[in-house]
């Protein structure tokens, strides 16, 4: 088991190097002088320009520059935002909980609906329910979620006035961040009862929007994994033992079908962050996705560089954890390595 973990961990090192290379070259490939790029549009006086060139090592050979960059990254120094002058890492850490809160709600939403829908569709293969689930999930998979968000706002916020249009919580409330997750902070650390309800209401539409594509993928994957497993020899054995249909499906089949589904859920993390960029933009959700898009328009390249690197590391880590979880639920891997 330890060897299995070590092998998997060592496998991500090249990917890590690749991501750092990408972000390293990002700032150097942008047309123009990198220091001026970093300084932004306000410009910079020649003395300070020279100082910064030295500090970042732009006068040294490219490999040395990369070495300096890696050393800085490993010390947690991702340089400062051109606009706010705040360290990029600090800004990221302040905004990241909002993105996580949204992403976790979205994936839970996707699982709670997607798993049962996929299982039922497989069990009732070729029924109307099956065709319905497959049709809807393909539409969800094809959904331009930036439009989906607007349509939901149009329906629920404008037409029925049920949900708020944007933000994380009503401006009436100010919640001092404790955990950074508003649902938790407002429930446990705020006296005001309305705060939690407001936070919850603000979460509903973004959760649906961000959860739509993962929901579709999970439903489809669960169905096909179940269909494959239901055709296996050991399911015939389970039937020959006289087990009930429910036990065969919920225990013997599902346990095996979950193995590929867990992998797919892990891969959805990348999809979630892609969706978060769009969802946060639509709903003015103060997370890292919106932050990155704003950085582009403000030409705040250090933020873009640091943000991409950090998100890349997060996705990589989650993929690694999923890989390890895969080993845990699959006895064949657990024992053979």
């Amino acid at each position: 088991m330890l060897r299995f973990i070590l092998t998997r961990v060592s496998l991500i090192i090249p990917t890590f190097i690749g991501i750092t290379l990408l972000t390293f070259f990002l700032i150097r490939l942008v047309p123009g002088d990198p220091i001026e790029t970093m300084a932004g549009e306000r410009g910079i006086d020649p003395a300070r320009h020279e100082l910064l060139r030295k500090e970042y090592g732009f006068d040294r050979p490219i490999l040395v520059q990369y070495g300096i960059y890696i050393a800085r990254v490993l010390q947690g120094d991702l340089s400062k935002s051109v606009i706010t002058q705040a360290p990029v890492l600090d800004e990221f850490l302040a905004l990241f909980p909002a993105t996580i809160e949204l992403a976790v709600c979205a994936i839970l939403f996707a699982l709670v609906i997607g798993l049962p829908a996929g299982i039922l569709a497989a069990v009732r293969r070729n029924s109307i329910f099956d065709h319905g689930v497959m049709g809807i999930s393909l539409a969800g998979y094809s959904m331009p979620i930036f439009w989906w968000g607007l349509i939901l706002i149009l329906l629920f916020s404008v037409q029925f006035d049920l949900t708020p249009v944007s933000g994380r919580i009503d401006v009436l409330y100010y919640i001092e961040p404790v955990t950074g997750f508003l649902l938790i902070d407002s429930l446990f650390f705020s006296e005001d009862e309305g705060a939690f309800r407001s936070a919850l209401a603000h979460l509903i539409l973004p959760t649906i929007v961000l959860g739509t594509v993962p929901l579709a993928v999970i439903a489809r994957m669960t169905r096909s994994a179940m269909l494959e497993v239901l055709g296996e020899d050991y399911i015939r054995t389970a039937k020959a033992k006289g087990l009930s249909r429910f036990r065969i499906i919920a225990l013997h089949a599902l346990r095996n079908a979950l193995i590929p589904v867990v992998t797919v859920i892990g891969l959805q993390v990348g999809v979630l962050f892609t969706g978060a960029i769009l969802t946060e933009t639509i709903f003015s959700w103060p997370g890292v996705g919106k932050w990155l898009i704003e950085a582009i328009f403000r030409r705040d390249y250090p933020v873009l560089q640091g943000g991409v690197l950090l998100l890349g590391i997060v996705v990589m880590t989650v993929n690694l954890l999923v890989d390890l979880a895969y080993g845990l639920i699959n006895p064949r891997i657990r024992h053979t390595r």
């Binding site: 049709g135 094809s142 890349g312 996705v315």
Partner: protein, 303 residues
């Protein structure tokens, strides 16, 4: 045992003969109603794109503030002159959608063409030469796959600058790993087969082997992946347009139209609804087609 059950003989109609492969392919494909519907929609979108000059009632660029934000014809204040209404600066939405079909199809096809060409070559090369080249290419693809796709596209557009061409290049790059992996896997499984050995023994060069012998044998998965790739390309390019990083106004690209319309969501539902619907229907059609093709190429999977 299952195989035996299925292979078991005996049929009611003794006169039946096995159908021709192409016919059988069409049989499987046409049995899938969704796939046929997808194909019909795609043909319709292609026709609309080709005949845009004839079909569009107005110019997609002509602005007229006197008729700004007219609703569709079935709502009060709407008229058949502007069947789907007008946008905030008085352009006919239907005409813009019709010309937008051209852009979306162009984006989808160009992106996938670039991606397939470069991706297949990289895949074939890494599959044939193995070693350090393969490790380098495949690791690079892993990095592309690890990063959230839109994030990578945004980074590329940030480097190259916003615009339709640059967003197409960015999307081409993020869907490339699929083709590289496909081509490489095909090469590795095919090169171990007898017919490649036979070609090699008879003196075929590596290049000839790559393109004449191996490539034709991985066309089926490539076609399926291409169909699915077009839908991803249209969707991602529209997302970039929506974020203001893709096609720039006044281009009638569907995503860009949505970006323009965003602030009017509270006042004029039609400027928001129709461009997105166009994206959804087109993307759905390509996904349906891709699914149908995959099932038809591999009927065993379908059962």
């Amino acid at each position: 045992m299952t195989a035996e059950t299925m292979d078991a003989p005996a049929v009611a109609a003794p006169t039946a003969t096995p159908p021709h492969p192409l016919r059988e392919f069409w049989g499987y494909f046409s049995a899938n109603h969704g796939a046929v519907a997808g194909l019909v929609v795609i043909v319709a979108v292609v026709l609309v794109a080709l005949l845009a000059d004839v079909l569009a009632p107005h110019s997609p660029y002509l602005t007229d503030t006197t008729i700004a934000l007219k609703p569709p014809f079935w709502q009060e204040g709407g008229s058949f002159t502007y069947p789907l209404g007008t946008d905030p600066i008085g352009r006919d939405i239907l005409s813009r959608l019709i010309y937008g079909a051209r852009l979306s199809l162009l984006i989808g096809i160009m992106v996938v063409a670039i991606s397939i060409m470069v991706g297949t070559v990289l895949g074939l090369v890494s599959g044939f030469f193995r070693g350090i080249i393969e490790i380098f290419i495949m690791r690079l693809m892993d990095v592309i796959l690890t990063l959230p796709s839109l994030l990578l596209a945004i980074v590329i557009v940030a480097i190259l600058g916003p615009g339709l061409m640059n967003s197409m290049l960015a999307v081409a790059l993020i869907i490339m790993p699929h083709y590289v992996r496909l081509a490489r896997a095909a090469v590795i499984s095919e090169t171990s087969k007898d017919y490649v050995t036979a070609a090699r023994v008879s003196g075929a060069g590596t290049l000839r082997l790559m393109f004449r012998e191996v490539l034709p044998n991985c066309t089926a998965p490539l076609i399926v992946q291409a169909s699915l790739g077009i839908s991803t390309a249209i969707l991602d390019a529209a997302a970039l347009g929506f974020l203001g990083l893709g096609a720039q106004p006044p281009s009638p690209e569907w995503g860009t139209m949505l970006a323009d319309a965003r602030e009017f969501v509270l006042r004029a539902w039609w400027v928001v609804t129709f461009p997105g619907l166009a994206i959804l229907i087109t993307v759905l059609a390509f996904n349906l087609l891709g699914d149908g093709l995959r099932d038809a190429f591999d009927p065993k999977l379908k059962r």
